[in-house]
């Protein structure tokens, strides 16, 4: 089969490879998701979008080694993942900082886990470097309770980066933040990822966030039996910025494609009706965005409408 050939061909170049992943919770008739197949290249930033209950967090937890899948395999650098590892840093949805430790000690806890043989001075130096990276040098000796939500999430990001993982997993890290703070931290994350060439897998509910950050966006169909139905390639230039993103004509094509999928097509693809091997599409390069297909998109016929409908209001 052609798909078979494609997957074996791409495996050697792909850093992370997910094959036939499925999860059935005990007592459930149908799996939450099944036949989930996708890959992530080294240095690539991949976002996954889908409605609640399609198993995004479960997939991330499997990648983190915190949960086990019912079937399927995850390979990282040709090795199968089994259990958690310092190779994969996780930024949790609720920052998951330890409230009894200061920012410094929270990050030092992670650093000492990775390099137990380091001296106190070495740990301190390393911690200070990463706290400065997220711009929190002045708050380094504060307890998390004294920080705002955005600052806490920054500490969470610094903690994940500080162990210099080969892969970073982010579970909707900005979900609880206000729009302004979210924007600032997105910019920071973009800058740090560009500097470190970090491979990132991130869950988000925000279409704009995905377009800004991701090189490729995985679209999941609704559960039960959800799948990665489509892979949207972000064809915009990599030095895109939040400030000028919406001036790029590609932006609306991609955005409309994502919103269409989430609002109209994802429901119809539940119960395993999505293809097992996702199709890779590049809607940004679509030359005529207002042509034929828009007739099949009743919710977002106009660009102007799509502009003002963030996903969180829809979902």
């Amino acid at each position: 089969m052609s798909t078979e050939a494609r997957s074996t061909e791409t495996r050697s170049t792909e850093f992370l490879k997910i094959e036939g992943l499925a999860k059935t919770y005990p007592g459930a008739a149908e799996p939450v998701f099944d036949s989930v197949n996708f890959g992530i290249a080294r240095g690539e930033f991949v976002c996954i979008i889908g409605h609640s209950g399609c198993g995004k967090t479960t997939i991330l937890n499997v990648l983190a080694g915190l949960e086990s899948a019912s079937s399927g395999h995850v390979f990282m650098g040709q090795r199968e993942i089994a259990g958690p590892s310092l190779d994969r840093g996780v930024v949790f949805q609720g920052h998951a900082l330890m409230p009894w430790l200061s920012v410094r000690k929270n990050i030092a806890f992670a650093v000492r886990s990775k390099w137990p043989q380091w001296s106190r001075a070495q740990v301190d130096e390393h911690v200070e470097k990463y706290v400065a990276l997220v711009g929190l040098a002045s708050a380094i000796d504060k307890k998390p309770s004294a920080l705002s939500g955005g600052m806490k999430q920054r500490v969470g990001i610094a903690r994940a980066f500080a162990i210099q993982p080969r892969m970073l997993l982010l579970d909707e890290p900005f979900g609880a933040l206000d729009a302004l703070t979210r924007g600032t931290i997105q910019d920071e994350l973009l800058r740090i990822c560009a500097e470190t060439h970090q491979t990132v897998f991130m869950i988000t509910h925000d279409v704009d966030e995905a377009i800004l950050l991701a090189d490729r966006i995985l679209l999941m169909s609704n559960g039960p039996q959800a799948r990665v139905a489509e892979v949207v390639k972000n064809t915009m230039s990599r030095d895109r910025q939040r400030a000028n993103l919406h001036h790029d004509p590609q932006y609306y094509r991609i955005r409309n494609h994502l919103v269409d999928f989430l609002m109209a097509r994802s429901k119809d693809l539940s119960h395993g009706r999505a293809p097992a091997q996702p199709l890779e599409v590049s809607p940004g390069l679509d030359s005529e965005p207002d042509a034929g297909p828009s007739g099949a998109r009743p919710d977002t016929g106009l660009d102007g409408r799509a502009k003002i409908v963030p996903l969180r209001h829809v979902a």
Partner: protein
Amino acid sequence: MTKTLGFRAGLLSLLLLLLILGVWHLATLSGPAAAPVLNMTPEEIEYAKLLGKDPTGEGGGAAKSGFPGLGEMASVSWQHLAQPFYDNGPNDKGVGIQLGHSLGRVALGFVLAALVAIPLGFVIGMSPLIYRALDPFIQVLKPISPLAWMPLALYTIKDSHISGIFVIFICSIWPMLLNTAFGVASVRREWLNVAKTLEVSPLRKAFEVILPAAAPTILTGMRISMGIAWLVIVAAEMLVGGTGIGYFVWNEWNNLSLPNVIFAILLIGVVGMLLDLMFARLQKAVTYVD
């Protein structure tokens, strides 16, 4: 505003104290009950003396009413506080020495209980299997009055001093055990996940994640245990005898020396309060704001 509130509360407390002392004073004033000695035959005087009412008037009004007045209380308290550590044999020791014995027993029993309860609570909190398996035992043993263990303890241990410590041990173990188990079981999943993804060793996880996370709950258990231990030690010492503040109370009751009994009661209250205050401080030190 809070300062004035504190001030007003203090003032009210002071007024209440004065009121209580005033009532006490009025209630213990020598009443008109003192019958004139002249009208009584020697037999009647003898009879009155046997009833505890000395019609000849020796000892003043206080002795007549039986309940000590404020003046007498003050002088007795002063005697005790001036000389807390004298030792004139088994039945006449300073109140400081008696208190020291009680505190020593409580401390020893409490520390032993903590050494058992906290590690065991950790295990119970971590393992739902062990929790389920031990639960029936805990549920049956917990409501037993610690003093009910006394005969068994005296029979098996054959030493009244150690039996007292055992009773303190058995009464302080339950709140600490249950609170530790609860605290450990309810450590947030996300902190454990952080530890997991960082490949933290089980020992480091126990001491650097679970212990600080559960510390406020554990300290609450310790505080409750200490409160119960201090309640039980008085009763236990009344039973066992020999030394201790509980024995002192019972001994002074046998001497019919109510001022001493009242002084000891107040002392037990103050020491109990100080112990609780100490644990409140400790609790505050380990509590974190989330």
